[in-house]
């Protein structure tokens, strides 16, 4: 699969944060998302969206991210914070 551009990666990370799959980046130290957290978040989004869980931002995943949708997140806060606690 063609490798994705930095811009697509940024869009993907923003999208995953916006809809509750990734905790918002820490505003103080601007902590970047770890690769493991990103893979986990992508898989959760793919599972919720009925896609194959590849763990990477493939075309199907980027396509679904462009689909018109409801603004509300798919994951609730507690869902994400357990992720953080686990880490």
């Amino acid at each position: 699969a063609p490798s994705i551009t930095a811009e697509q990666m940024d869009m993907g990370v923003d999208w995953l944060s916006k809809f509750g799959y990734l905790p918002p980046p820490d505003p103080v130290n601007g902590q970047l998302q770890t690769k493991e957290a990103l893979t986990k978040a992508i898989k959760a989004m793919q599972r919720f969206g009925g896609l194959e869980e590849t763990g990477v931002l493939d075309q199907a995943t980027l396509g679904l991210m462009k689909t018109p949708r409801c603004s509300l997140p798919d994951m609730s806060e507690p869902e994400m914070s357990t992720g953080r606690r686990k880490r």
Binding site: F48, P68, C70, S71, P73, D74, E79
Partner: protein, 443 residues
């Protein structure tokens, strides 16, 4: 379902479209309001929730068409992307509020390629407004992604997955909210569902003069709070929202509708007024207004208040298509605006404009299938949606279709003892789909 499920404690929820789509050439205000009405009805049809439209800023569910950052933490992003959101029930001031992105091309009855189907998105968002979160179930209307138009709002059937999830929140709509505890008026401005019949219901058969529902012509027929009432002489029969006859025996008008003159031996017409849901009874040149089942002070008053002639009316109903009130007398009809409390100009007109409807009606009513029904003698006629012409196949027999009458006289003795089996024979098909079994009590 991912988010903790919050839900409304009250059952009567008000709504209002506060701002409309600005540029939308396709959707007029009335269409937007009608689509909101039907999208809410999808949920109230299957739960004990009741939605009613109000004016003013007190609505539980404030609906806005807005764009970009509108200060609620969920900025829109222009055409596409995020298209709408709603706030879950709860204590917050915004609970239930629903926002649609005014940068979208909102459509109604348009093919998928042209814009965003407003009805489909509204059903989804009102799912949030009553407490449902997103789900990954492919068929569900609560999937986060827009999945295109869902067809005719009048025929839309909620996916079973969504029915089960909302039943887990609120229970099944008991088709007879008969035993509903009277809602404490201080809890909600909304008129409660009509109370049950007087507690000391007589167990003895009604007096000798009780009419037979299977051979009667009816004086008046009305949909009141979603249920159907058939009036004859001093009696009436009541049907639930699902057209189930509450009792084979008629109830006595005076024992339920409190405040009518004792010597009133029948009524001419009855209807539930849009807006405040009060109920209006007509007899000759007089009318009475009821709040729930108690007549209000200062009645009866003359029908000239409506601009009607003093000879009174044969029939009255509210046409869902335009929320106007139609009065019929002999072969004339009038159109009245109950919101403005004013008779529309250019009336009366000839009832022939309602193609196929006979003159001298007994009464008329709208029903929860959004059609209008006209009654005369032992027959009735159906006019669909916004048509003004009777559907093919009408008239049909009132007794058979509405009042559990078979070809035979349903109250004759031999029928009496097995009437229960017939009632049981009416048992609902259980909704066993996808392994779920749901039963609902009907009384």
């Amino acid at each position: 379902a991912l988010a903790p499920q919050t839900k409304w404690n009250k059952r009567h929820l008000s709504w209002r479209v506060r701002t409309f789509p600005k540029e939308s050439a396709l959707l007029g205000r009335d269409t937007v309001r009608a689509l909101m009405y039907y999208a809410l009805k999808v949920w109230s049809d299957i739960t004990p929730l009741n939605f009613h439209e109000v004016a003013g800023n007190e609505a539980d569910i404030q609906i806005d068409f807005t764009k970009a950052d509108h200060n609620d933490g969920y900025p829109f992003d222009g055409p596409g992307g995020t298209v709408a959101h709603a706030f879950f029930p709860g204590e917050r001031f915004t609970a239930g509020d629903t926002h649609f992105d005014d940068d979208e091309a909102w459509t109604f009855r348009s093919p998928d390629s042209h814009g965003m189907d407003l009805f489909a998105v509204a059903v989804h968002e009102f799912g949030h407004a009553i407490g449902l979160a997103h789900t990954s179930a492919i068929e569900s209307i609560m999937r986060p992604y827009y999945q295109g138009p869902v067809g005719d709002p009048l025929k839309y059937n909620l996916p079973y997955e969504d029915k089960v999830r909302v039943w887990q929140l609120y229970g099944v709509r008991d088709s007879v909210s008969h035993t509903a505890q009277p809602v404490d008026p201080s809890q909600t401005a909304e008129p409660p569902v009509l109370l049950d019949l007087p507690e000391n219901r007589s167990t003895v058969p009604p007096a000798r003069d009780a009419p037979d529902r299977c051979t009667s012509h009816f004086d008046a027929v009305a949909q009141i709070r979603g249920e159907a009432f058939f009036f004859k002489g001093k009696y009436f029969w009541r049907l639930t929202r699902e057209k189930h006859l509450v009792s084979l025996r008629p109830a006595q008008i005076h024992r339920f509708w409190r405040g009518l003159p004792v010597n009133l031996d029948s009524v001419d017409a009855v209807y539930e007024r849009p807006g405040d849901h009060k109920i209006v009874f007509f007899k000759g040149g007089k009318y009475w207004v009821f709040k729930d089942n108690n007549v209000e002070e200062g009645y009866p008053r003359p029908v000239s208040d409506f601009g009607l002639p003093m000879e009174g009316v044969d029939a009255v109903f509210v046409w869902l298509h335009n929320e106007k009130t139609y009065f019929f007398k002999d072969s004339r009809y009038w159109r009245y605006d109950d919101h403005l409390r004013r008779m529309d100009l250019g009336y009366p007109k000839d009832t022939a404009l309602w193609k196929g409807i006979p003159p001298q009606l007994d009464d008329a009513m709208r029903w929860s299938d959004s059609a209008s029904y006209f009654f005369k003698g032992k027959e009735y006629w159906r006019v669909a949606g916004s048509d003004m012409e009777v559907e093919a196949g009408y008239p049909r027999p009132i007794g058979k279709d509405w009042l559990v009458c078979s070809e035979m006289q349903s109250d004759s003795p031999e029928m009496q003892n097995n009437s229960n089996t017939r009632f049981h024979g009416q048992r609902h098909a259980d909704h066993a789909e996808n392994g779920y079994e749901v039963c609902s009590c009907t009384s």
